[in-house]
């Protein structure tokens, strides 16, 4: 464990990423404390520029809503959606990949065709269609993001399982007559955790980008203040009030960047052999 942190800390970018992530997490947790009024409420005059007196550091939007409050409350939504949709995608991708890799043959063929099919479809267009038809809500958004992001997980797990399956300890478990489900769950899958963790951190980042794009198009949950919604809402008043769209974009960028950096750090820490290649 100590060696793990040491290797992680050697990657300076990853440490920076972790710090940014901690700040965003703190913002998400503290949002209702620092900004107890709903981010949808009009609090002062509209179109106040950033650094305005009265504590409106990031200005206000066309309806006099505090941009800073929106960003803090938006952090909650982004992080929750990113996390839950990634977990959902893992819950779809891991079993499919494990079954395909372990059993091979016809099952593998069928499952991989199915996976390929989902990789062929334009992901963002599919997400739009799903959310629009099922009506925008937290559930439909999570479902849509999970449906378009599980195929890489299935492929990764399949590849890992395929190589693990031939290892001696797995063969030994087969010989002593352990049940197949037990072998998969206790012998094979625990050894795929490292690459899955690395992939998951990048997936949370992509999920946040995807969610922001959906809410930008007006497909966000209508009850939740999201960064994408704020950018979309500020779009029509760009010339007079650039800050309404600018700051939420910076928030998205920082979050996605932090998650990517942390992902790289995890990769270095969990695959020590690969990390030294290519500087």
């Amino acid at each position: 464990m100590k060696a793990f942190f040491k290797r992680f800390a050697r990657n300076k970018g990853a440490v920076v990423g972790l710090i940014i992530l901690a700040i965003i997490l703190a913002a998400a947790i503290l949002a209702p404390v620092l900004y107890p009024t709903s981010p949808w409420r009009m609090v002062t005059r509209p179109f106040l520029p950033p650094m305005s007196p009265g504590g409106f550091w990031l200005g206000t939007d066309a309806l006099g809503r505090d941009v800073a409050s929106g960003i803090m409350h938006g952090a909650r939504v982004s992080l929750i959606i990113g996390l839950v949709s990634t977990l959902t995608a893992l819950a779809i991708g891991i079993p499919i990949g494990a079954l395909a890799g372990y059993f091979g043959g016809l099952i593998d063929d069928a499952l991989m065709r199915f996976t390929e099919f989902f990789q062929t479809i334009p992901a963002f267009a599919l997400a739009i269609v799903i959310v629009a038809i099922l009506q925008p809500s937290l559930y439909s958004i999570v479902l849509a993001i999970a449906i378009v992001s599980w195929p890489p997980v299935a492929r990764l797990v399949r590849g890992e399982v395929l190589s693990l399956r031939t290892r001696e300890y797995v063969q030994a478990s087969i010989v002593i007559g352990q049940s197949t489900s037990r072998i998969i769950l206790t012998q094979v899958l625990p050894n795929t955790i490292a690459p899955i963790t690395v992939m998951a951190s990048i997936m949370v980042a992509s999920a946040i980008l995807l969610e922001s794009a959906l809410s930008f198009l007006g497909l966000g949950d209508p009850n939740m203040m999201t960064w994408g919604y704020m950018i979309g809402a500020g779009r029509t008043r760009l010339i007079e009030a650039w800050w309404i769209s600018f700051f939420p974009g910076v928030a998205i960028f920082l979050t996605v960047l932090a998650l990517n950096l942390v992902g790289e750090g995890l990769n270095d820490a969990l695959n020590p052999r690969l990390s030294r290649e290519g500087g």
Binding site: F117, Q119, T120, I121, P122, A123, F124, A125, L126, I128, V129, I130, A132, I133, L134, Q135, A205, L209, S212, A213, F216, L217, G218, L219, G228, I231, R235, L238, I239, W242, S245, F246, G249, I252, F253, V256, L257, N260, E277, G278, G279
Partner: protein
């Protein structure tokens, strides 16, 4: 002719994918809250009983579900993608009218990002650890982590609204009545911002892939051999490393064509580019689900076709690639 058989096989596979997508669309409409007829009619049909009756008849909504699916699929196969009550025109007609603009935009963005990505990837890999590598990787990380629509909005403010260098929105200068070369130039000016902002995310992606691919190949035995026999460094990079490193990048880029089509929805929305992405956005606002599903189906068909072309080109260009996977 193995090539012909290969193409035929891929065509069959593509058709199966499209049928599967149509089937998925069909069940998605049924999964939506409310009566399928009013879902299909969208906002517009809610008030009009006559139109709902017509829809029920057209899609056989009073018949068993499998019959309905059959009717739906035969409609799609005969290229009947439904009728937009809102616009008062067949969906296919609406899409075909907008398709060329999207093809121009996505094509330009694809070529732009692939060329730039390969060049940056080579430059970064040649100077691993030097400042130019750091600059390129940092830039790639920036564009990889920034929402595409936000970059589009910000460049719209800077280059169109503040600096006034490039046109703000649209496809051409309205009312200018340009023809010939002047018209092409005008469209080109309008194309710059949407194509670059759409392409930047993918440039970042391809740069990262190309850099990794270059580094991987640089460690191969044949590169060491070339170096040992005294081939000049520039020639090693060009002939031995880059040539081999490009192949996997182009393959992956081809497979990701679908992502560019998806991204086009965002850039077309921001820049008012009159393509199918913009059509999709308008359909969203009007709850015109037949148009929405139609655009989704056509863009999937575009991706399937594009993947097929990439496969065939590869097979011709590099016979080492195996037919099946």
């Amino acid at each position: 002719m193995p090539l012909l058989r290969f193409i035929a096989g891929r065509l069959v596979k593509g058709v199966i994918v499209l049928i599967a997508i149509a089937t998925m669309n069909f069940f998605l409409i049924r999964a939506a809250p409310g009566d399928p007829a009013s879902v299909l009619a969208g906002e517009a049909g809610a008030a009009d009983e006559e139109f709902l009756r017509q829809l029920r008849e057209q899609f056989g909504l009073d018949q068993p579900i499998m019959t309905q699916l059959w009717i739906y699929l035969t409609d799609i196969i005969t290229l009947d993608l439904g009728f937009s009550y809102r616009q008062g025109r067949p969906v296919l007609e609406l899409i075909m009218e907008r398709l060329p603009a999207t093809l121009l935009l996505t094509g330009a963005a694809f070529i732009f990002s692939l060329t730039l990505g390969i060049i940056f990837g080579i430059l970064a890999a040649r100077r691993v650890g030097k400042w130019s590598d750091t600059a390129i990787t940092t830039g790639a990380l920036f564009f990889y982590a920034t929402p595409l629509f936000w970059i589009a909005l910000m460049s719209q403010i800077i280059f169109a609204l503040w600096l006034g260098w490039l046109p703000n929105t649209g496809f051409r200068t309205i009312g200018a009545g340009y023809t010939g070369l002047r018209h092409a130039l005008d469209v080109g000016m309008h194309l710059i911002l949407p194509a670059t902002t759409l392409g930047l995310f993918f440039t970042a992606l391809y740069t990262r892939m190309m850099r990794a691919s270059m580094l991987e190949i640089a460690g191969s035995d044949f590169v060491k051999t070339a170096r040992a026999k005294g081939v000049p460094e520039g020639r090693i990079v060009r002939r031995h490393i880059a040539r081999n490193a490009i192949l996997p990048v182009v393959t992956l880029a081809g497979l990701q064509a679908g992502q560019i089509v998806g991204g086009a929805v965002l850039t077309e929305t921001v820049f008012g580019w009159p393509g199918i992405g913009r059509l999709m956005f308008e359909a969203l606002a009007q709850r015109d689900y037949q148009v929405l599903l139609g655009v989704f189906f056509v863009s999937s068909a575009m991706v399937v076709l594009f993947n097929l072309i990439t496969d065939v080109v590869y097979r011709v260009a590099d016979p080492r690639i195996e037919v099946g996977r």
